[in-house]
């Protein structure tokens, strides 16, 4: 074996590792992309955010502001679901590598 000749197992492993990396990246991106979507929406339609247009709004309007709900969902996913999922994906990758 040298730099030009590599074992066949290594060559087969590389695309699998790359795919796993892409999955980790995608799962990590879901939350921030959702948050960004909510922020862009808030700027595109500020009248849907009660903080910007408080006149004549009731209690429910303060509690439920659609763009902020989207940001909240993105935060919830990014902080509660994604970290453990990425850990498990990486652990599964290591286990697969150890098992050969």
């Amino acid at each position: 074996m040298n730099e030009l000749v590599t074992p066949r197992t290594k060559a087969a492993e590389e695309p699998r590792v790359a795919r796993r990396g892409l999955r980790v990246l995608t799962v990590e991106a879901i939350g921030p992309v959702t948050i960004l979507g909510g922020i862009v929406w808030a700027f595109a339609q500020p009248y849907r955010v009660t903080f910007f247009y408080p006149e004549g709004k009731g209690a429910w309007d303060w509690f439920v502001q659609p763009p902020l709900l989207v940001v909240l969902v993105g935060l919830l996913f990014a902080l509660v679901v994604a970290p453990g999922l990425v850990d498990d994906l990486e652990r599964s990758s290591h286990e697969d590598a150890a098992a050969g």
């Binding site: 999955r23 429910w60 439920v64 709900l69 989207v70 993105g74 453990g84 599964s92």
Partner: protein
């Protein structure tokens, strides 16, 4: 103090968006990795059951219209049936892919309920338009759980199912009690009903 219908729709939209992101994550990492932690495995059956219970609450307050009451009660039953089946799948009691047909039936019933309980024409107002759109989206989305029952190894069904809920969430967020659609609003929209 009861919330307006649009407020309830936006709350459900937020719930559906979270539900969709969880389903999307499961589709990306695969069910084996996703179910490594029990709380995660039970997350989406629990969300379905929670949504079903809330739909019963909405049904209770939908006494202004028999069709609304029936439609919300049907959704509640469909969501709870799908939740119970998913609970059985996660616990390993139900292993046959054909159990996915229950989800397909639930989606179909939900789609038809959306279509029949909206009595106004497509272009009456935005809420009428979106009810029709959501109804047809759910009816078409039956394809995904149906595919999962027939070809369980294809991951496209899981992605399609997750994207369906993202689409439903966007449609529900766009919902307003009275708003124009395509620049047209019926002059009757938003008026108090004639007794």
């Amino acid at each position: 103090m009861l919330p307006r219908a649009e407020i309830a729709h936006w709350l459900f939209a937020a719930g559906f968006l979270f539900f969709a992101l969880v389903l999307l994550a499961e589709a990306i990492v695969g069910p084996d990795v996703f179910r490594r932690r029990p709380w995660r495995a039970y997350l989406w059956p629990s969300l379905l059951l929670f949504g079903g219970v809330w739909l019963w609450v909405i049904a209770i307050y939908s006494t202004f219209s028999t069709l609304h009451l029936l439609a919300h009660a049907l959704w509640a039953q469909a969501a709870i049936a799908a939740g119970v089946v998913q609970l059985g799948v996660v616990r390993g009691r139900l292993v046959a892919p054909a159990w996915s047909l229950v989800t397909a039936a639930g989606l179909f019933v939900s789609g038809v309920s959306f279509l029949v309980h909206e009595q106004n024409g497509w272009l009456f107002a935005r809420s009428a338009f979106l009810h029709h759109l959501i109804g047809w989206t759910l009816v078409v989305a039956v394809l995904f759980p149906l595919g999962a029952a027939l070809r369980p190894r294809w991951s496209v069904w899981a992605y399609g199912f997750a994207v369906t809920w993202i689409a439903v969430s966007v449609m529900l967020f766009s919902d307003r009690d009275v708003a124009p659609i395509f620049g047209h609003l019926s002059e009757l929209a938003g008026r108090a009903p004639v007794p």
